[in-house]
Symmetry: C2
Subunit: 89 residues, 2 copies
């Protein structure tokens, strides 16, 4: 149930994620979390800002968390930064 | 005076910015702001996380702000997302 309200940012275009968020807010969700790692962090911020300024003006950032995750790659472990932006209205 | 404590993230390597921040903390600054726009936002998060986890463990994120700035380009105005990470200890 909580899991439903997390949007993981990957390689799709920015507007796909924005529309997914707007749809969830319209389905009576009050909190939606955007999560991204590495280079997708910039895209996550774009998604949050576009949602807030162009679609749902009353959205606020209730919490922004930064952290480091350990990822298993072909050459062993590496660290990657991540962001979690919690939108609420 | 306040201006001195802002680090603008651009095209230099991540460690250049990390070392600039560590140096300023060692010069008795208690608050340092990292600012970045567009694709440099991911790098700003890397810089903050590396500073916190590898160099100055007592650093906390006292505030993280996201915003949208209007930039004048060759083809007129465009919007770009920006981040402001305030580190304090």
């Amino acid at each position: 149930m909580a899991e439903e309200n997390i949007i993981y940012v990957g390689k799709k275009p920015v507007m796909n994620y924005v529309l997914a968020i707007v749809t969830r807010f319209n389905n009576n969700n009050d909190h939606i979390t955007i999560k991204a790692r590495g280079k997708a962090i910039s895209k996550a911020v774009d998604i949050a800002e576009i949602t807030k300024h162009k679609f749902i003006k009353e959205v606020k950032y209730s919490k922004i968390n930064l952290s480091t995750e350990v990822v298993q790659g072909e050459r062993g472990e590496s660290n990657v930064s991540s962001i979690e932006i919690i939108l609420s209205r």
